[in-house]
Symmetry: C2
């Protein structure tokens, strides 16, 4: 039996169905490779099925042995060979420092890369409840995502109750549903069917190279999922980790707008983070998203800052403060709904994505155009109607063509851009429309230049070469342009 | 003899020419009207001419008596009749609270009105050194200003040394000029010709209804005017007040970018303010403009906040902090020079002007297009090349058509707009492009609506009337639009 590196090894066992197996049958396994031991939680999948899942991250022979309070599930063993990753599989995204090539230089780990070292230029989108929609709409969403605009998607485990988000899903993460005038759930029993549906989508996202930034809690709720007891929250997280941690593309987003959930204290959030940090054998990324004020992202269990904010110019300040990657998951959405956060123009959406990345952070898209059927991308997925996605793809391609490790000056300057030692510079000028730009270029180097038009999606080589102090590079006096200088 | 209210009464006397009359002959007058006495400083105008100027602000019979250490200039008397103001003359601009019509409501004085009560919706521009340019260029500037885009202009008393600002003026406020390789000035003697030229321009601005926001000090200097001794600074201010305070349209701007002048301490600036506050019989507006950090605008001698900043959304915060009018004198300029502050698009210039006014502040324009002759409006005046001025005129006309006294909620909201009790609302949505807007309108009132397109300069009545909770007003899904709701 073989499993490719960063794919999922899964083993199913039969066990008791009586009582409440979700709560009453501890079950897990320890995976071993050489001297390494990795304890993994298993989960009950209904109908007497007990499952352990594991994402091997090392090529070689792995063995496992199960543990359970139930003799039928205890001490089962097995083994498999972890072989080289399949083409296009780069492993989970990790936090890493930029490599300056210099000894004794403090380099805060503020960048993201795949486990195999490949650069990950995070360009995300938001479809909160796409997996809670009818099948045809989910297929439409997958078709849209296949176009490759985005490499991350923010999505909720629970359904959402909010403007433009009022339909019920077919099933829920917990057993239960509509009951009389309202809803009734058994918060001690999960609905495996709901989780299998979610897993199917996460797997399809993985196949497309899209990270699933799973929102574990959020305030927009009519079912009670936002106000479960703290014990139930932890019980739910334990189950989620057991089922989902083996997916290489999972990120744990503890909340969308954590600060709009007054029932949970800071201590509660800390506990949630620490439980997942302890249980998740893959060490997936962990973050928490704000409405108004930030959670303290310096806490050690936070891997990166997930930010809702409109001022991209503050990214360098947040990087300096938190010394972690800054992902602008919400900078307002392209659309025309009445809400201020859902009615920015395509130009501004594209501009903010460029700004997020060029200030040294990462970027997030969303789309909220009024629709006669009330299908808004940001809520339900479907098709995109805006003008930003193709420009975001253009942005992604440029970002992915850059060297991997920008060198940041961790100070707030007026120059928005990335710099790769003396070898390459990328500047973005946003709304500015200068007729030329002037540079003091590093001694002994000569550069060629390209003008990048982020809106018209063109890259235009500039005639001539540039060197020395006060080098003037002509620019087109248009907004939404950038400049790339590449050493010859 | 008659002088119209807020015009200039001037009387010239002959006196000694020997020695240094600027420094050695104290001279002034006290003006009286009924029980009121107003002491006024006189000034030496060269060639034995001693002048007192006075702007009467009350209709009736005024008399004066001079005082001087020189017997020839002491005890001279005279009188005049102050008659009704000429048509179009509204007096100096004053700080005033908005009138809520409610008793016992604390209303910070954060608005500007003319002395006669007419509303002053400040929409300014910047031409730092237009009065230091050749005559033909100054005429061109006046021709441009006549088009009525602006009702304030920021301008320097001293010439400026900076990018795109390198030519010498024909004369200087102090006696002296080019000398050998550099310059030599006698900082004890003024050059009356230079001041007469400035006064002529201030008078022409007054005739056009434009306030002259006179920048008294600034850091961009090769002549030594930014590094005079503190005594010389005060000596200069005393002369400036004596000559200029009688012009109804003068504002005292103590500095452009005060924080880039390290030779002056906070105490120095405070002294400057207090001297002018003490000497100026007209009590003209007093402010000081920043580069990075603000001067403490809460100090009692500061009448309003003169702000350089790019984030108009902070205007409500500054109004709340300083409880004074906030004039965004510099929010970047329309143009295409390489500098970040001089290369915003016309769209963004117009947008920031709207935002400044609709967040409850006042607005300032500037233009910096590259020019083969290096004549940039912001520096030297001349003609305007941009697309913002006609749109600023459109903005001004709308602002001037509003009721005078907006009621502010002094809190940071996401709704940018002015509200006039229940009678009228003006909202501006900037980059937002909503397809409709929804309102909970005051009970018992019905409104008509107009969509304002700030870029296309149209005002389009919306069909129907609007009232009650959740009233939906259709919007055109375009950026740079606003909405006006007017009670029927």
């Amino acid at each position: 039996m073989t499993t490719a590196k960063w794919d999922i090894f899964e083993q199913v066992f039969s066990g008791p169905r009586e009582g409440n197996p979700f709560a009453e049958v501890p079950f897990g396994a320890t995976f071993r490779c050489g001297m390494r031991q990795v304890p993994v939680e298993g989960f009950y999948d209904g109908e007497g099925r007990y499952v352990v899942r594991f994402m091997p991250d090392w090529e070689g022979r792995w063995s496992f042995v199960t543990r359970s309070s139930c003799p039928d599930l205890d001490g089962k063993t097995g083994e498999f060979e972890c072989v080289a990753p399949r083409a296009g599989v780069h492993g989970p995204v990790r936090v890493t420092g930029a490599d300056t090539g210099k000894m004794h230089t403090h380099v805060p780990a503020t960048r993201l890369k795949y486990a195999d070292g490949k650069n990950y230029m995070c360009v995300g989108t938001t479809c909160y409840c796409w997996t809670h929609q009818p099948e045809a709409l989910q297929q439409a969403t997958l078709d849209t995502l296949k176009k490759g605009y985005f490499n991350k998607i923010r999505m909720c485990v629970f359904p959402k109750h909010y403007e433009f988000n009022h339909n019920d899903p077919e099933c829920y993460p917990f057993e239960g549903g509509a009951s009389g005038e309202g809803y009734a759930f058994d918060f001690t029993r999960f609905n495996p069917e709901s989780w299998r549906r979610l897993e199917k989508r996460i797997g399809q996202l993985a196949d497309m190279g899209i990270e699933a930034d799973l929102i574990l809690f959020h305030p927009y709720d009519r079912w009670g999922f936002s106000q479960m007891s703290h014990e139930t929250d932890l019980y739910y997280l334990r189950y989620a980790v057991a089922r989902l941690a083996a997916f290489r593309n999972v990120w744990w987003s503890f909340a969308n707008e954590y600060d709009l959930m007054p029932a949970k204290s800071t201590q509660d959030w800390d506990d949630c983070f620490r439980l997942v940090q302890t249980l998740d054998p893959a060490g997936h990324l962990r973050s928490i998203h704000n409405c108004r004020g930030f959670y303290d992202h310096t806490k050690p269990w936070v891997t990166h800052c997930s930010v809702q904010h409109s001022d991209m110019e503050r990214v360098p300040e947040w990087i300096a403060t938190y010394q972690k990657p800054v992902v602008i998951d919400e900078c307002c959405y392209e659309g025309n709904i009445p809400n201020y956060w859902g009615s920015i123009s395509a130009e501004e959406m594209v501009n903010r994505m460029w700004e997020s990345l060029c200030w040294g952070g990462y970027a997030g898209h969303g789309e909220t155009y009024l629709d006669p059927e009330d299908v808004l991308w940001w809520a339900k997925g479907g098709t995109l109607h805006g003008k930003s996605p193709e420009r975001i793809l253009f942005l992604r391609k440029i970002m992915e063509s850059l060297p991997a490790d920008p060198v940041f000056a961790f100070e707030r300057t007026r120059v928005m851009g990335l710099n790769f030692g003396d070898e390459e510079f990328l500047y973005y000028y946003g709304l500015r429309q200068s007729g030329y730009k002037q540079f003091d270029l590093p001694e002994g180097k000569t550069y060629r230049a390209e003008v990048i038009d982020a809106w018209n999606m063109t890259v235009t080589p500039v005639e001539g070469t540039f060197s020395g102090k006060g080098a003037r590079v002509p620019m087109p006096s248009r907004s939404y342009c950038g400049l790339r200088l590449i050493a010859l």
